[in-house]
């Protein structure tokens, strides 16, 4: 008989160990899955986790790792701040879209003028767009007590409709033969967010992600605001006595995570993606939720988790190509990662006691 005993304090040891355990368990369960599909499990795991980093074409894939991880980390860093306070922004995908639309609109309105001010203006517009989209659930929650989880999630679908409308309507490339999609910002030097050093994958969005990691780390561990956020999440009543205003906190957290998601979208549309299309959003906003939890809502953890998640994407594509693994199997594999993480999480809150259960 195994019983669970709640720990008086969450275990520090387990909170660092469970992500590693989850990755190992995912590798084992994933290996079993791949074996059932008739593929060599060891080869598959090697292709996914080893080849992108150290394989024959690793020089290219290491750069792509940053391209893929950049937006995930930038979004997750913001989300984690809110999650620590018990404020659940599920709609980063929508904020990402609106940020991209705002940034691209500024660029396309200025086209074809060249100016050094254009890119900074796009950055501001992107952050502002995401911030506004994040503030809608914040204001509704403060004024009417609506659930920010539902409102932020529903706003993703509204944002997607906006995106389709923009791609087919006002932002459509007038020289695109009637095809949907905006001009490609990669061909507009003032608006382009280029690779800063050729072949590294490093662009301003990746730089912003690193800055966000450092800033949220400092905020959460060295700053009074971070202390208030943590208290609000862990002991809401105590926080109220300590004078933490829930309304202010809700607006701060949703505004911050919205702005960072908006920035991520803006850097993406000006850089790797290049254009607004109806399928521009690739699910970064949702995947970032997994990244935030995988990283233990901790800035440094998120940095590592974002890179790991990006690795499974890039390695997953390689496994498809080299081993013929179906994409669904790769998606199951990625899903397992979150499943095992949440499962093992039990160990940080509870102690396992083997033996007779005392009623």
């Amino acid at each position: 008989m195994i019983t669970l005993v709640k720990r008086p304090m969450p275990s520090r040891f387990w909170s660092f160990t469970t992500p590693v355990l989850a990755v190992i368990a995912t590798m084992i369960a994933g290996g079993v899955l791949f074996a059932i599909l008739g593929k060599d499990p060891v080869a598959a795991i090697k292709v996914i986790f080893y080849d992108p980093l150290f394989g024959p074409n690793a020089a290219y894939f290491r750069g792509q790792l940053l391209v893929k991880a950049g937006p995930l980390i930038l979004i997750a860093a913001g989300l984690a701040v809110g999650f620590r306070a018990g404020i659940w922004n599920i709609g980063a995908e929508g904020q990402y879209i609106i940020g991209a639309l705002a940034g691209a609109s500024v660029a396309l309105a200025a086209f074809p003028a060249e100016s050094h001010w254009l890119f900074p203006a796009m950055v501001v517009a992107g952050a502002l767009g995401g911030w506004i989209w994040g503030m809608i659930p914040a204001v509704l929650r403060v004024l009417f007590g609506t659930s920010e989880i539902l409102v932020s999630l529903m706003l993703v679908y509204v944002a997607q409709s906006f995106l389709a409308w923009a791609a087919f309507g006002p932002l459509k490339n007038p020289e695109g033969y009637g095809f949907p999609g905006s001009r490609n910002l990669q061909q507009y030097p003032s608006a382009h967010n280029p690779e800063l050093i050729a072949g590294t994958g490093m662009h301003w969005g990746v730089v912003a992600a690193f800055v966000a990691v450092i800033a949220t780390y400092v905020l959460m561990s060295r700053h009074i605001a971070g202390f208030r956020i943590r208290v609000a999440g862990e002991a809401p009543r105590a926080a109220r006595f300590a004078g933490v205003l829930p309304a202010k906190l809700v607006m701060f957290c949703l505004g911050l995570s919205g702005a960072l998601a908006g920035l991520a979208g803006m850097f993406e549309v000006a850089g790797p993606s290049g254009q607004i299309t109806d399928s521009f959003n690739a699910g970064y906003g949702f995947t970032a939720i997994i990244v935030a939890f995988l990283g233990r809502l901790n800035a440094i953890g998120i940095l590592l988790a974002g890179l790991l998640m990006a690795l499974t994407y890039i390695g997953g594509d390689m496994a498809q190509l080299m081993l013929g693994l179906p994409t669904a199997a790769i998606q199951v594999f990625q899903g397992m990662l979150l499943f095992f993480l949440l499962g093992f999480d039990l160990l940080t809150q509870y102690r396992l006691r083997v033996g007779k259960g005392s009623k």
């Binding site: 074409n57 290219y60 792509q64 391209v67 893929k68 389709a164 087919f168 309507g169 033969y177 009637g178 095809f179 949907p180 999609g181 490609n184 990669q186 993406e268 790797p272 993606s273 290049g274 254009q275 299309t277 109806d278 399928s279 521009f280 690739a282 699910g283 994407y313 890039i314 594509d317 390689m318 498809q320 190509l321 080299m322 013929g324 179906p326 994409t327 669904a328």
Partner: protein, 360 residues
Amino acid sequence: MDRRSFLKTTAATATLAAVGLPVAAADPIKIGFIYVGPVGDMGWSYQHDVARREMETALGGKVVTSFIENVPEGPDAERALTQLALEGNQLIFATSFGFMDATVNVAAKFPNVKFEHATGYKRAENLATYDARFYEGRAVQGTIAGRMTKTNKIGYIGSFPIPEVIQGINAAYIHAKKVNPDVEIKVVWAYSWFDPAKEADAAAALIAEGCDFILQHTDSTAPQAKAQEAGTVFTFGQASDMEAFKPSPRISSTIDNWAPYYIKRAQALVDGNWKSEGTWGGIGTGMVGIGEITSAVPAEVKAEAEALIAKISDGSYHPFTGPLKKQDGSDWLAEGKTPEDAELAGLNFFVEGISAEMPK
């Protein structure tokens, strides 16, 4: 491994080596594909994958192929294409419109690798484009629907308001109207190429409005299933034959048949005379296939449809032949005139008589 299977394997290897060695040619050429959907979508990506396999068989050992499926359009496509190029693929097919800019970027980085982009319009020295005249199939569908409809209402599930889809709606309407002046066409936009739930909703809405024909420019069989439930509604297979719904509701189909083109292009690569060009194939070249017209279609309608297929196929008839006016009543094509391919490729208006509004 037990002894017996060991012996068998060894014997087989020895035989293979003995037979294979004298004719051992150069290593097979690697050809790669990226698909926007899963190969199991039974529509667009599935048809490309069928053609890939046919190509591999047809070129018997001279080429080997690999593919990446479910590739999102945008930077992920760029990475997938780069990956294929880095893996040593000599010819890479990017099989969705949304891969266009990614393919252009990667083609510029790998001047020695050949690229082929489906349904796009940007070409380069090492980047060819290919597309099918799906509107030719729509003309056939419009003729059958116009003749057979009892409610005089034809439903059309559009994916996106882009030229390829608009060509199809226009061609279907023009030919339905030609045989039935009272016919109306109702358009619902799914804003997706493949979304069974949305397609089912769209079909249900069109049936509720009294349409007894559903034409679809989306790839799932959900509209077929809805039509089957309704019982009195007919459909056409889209992209693949959708033969599971024969003989009714599916009474014919437009089949994307990429295999002849893929075989031709791979052969050209093997022979060393691959050139970048734009191909727009139709019924005549076999790129657009018309699936069996079933027994649910009256014999005289079937004969009329087959005559139309023959005329389109030998080039004696163009589905867009004037006089034709635009939706706003202004002139488009004068008597007997046909449009240039370049104009068709950018078609962004409905013809006169269609009441549906073009989404903005």
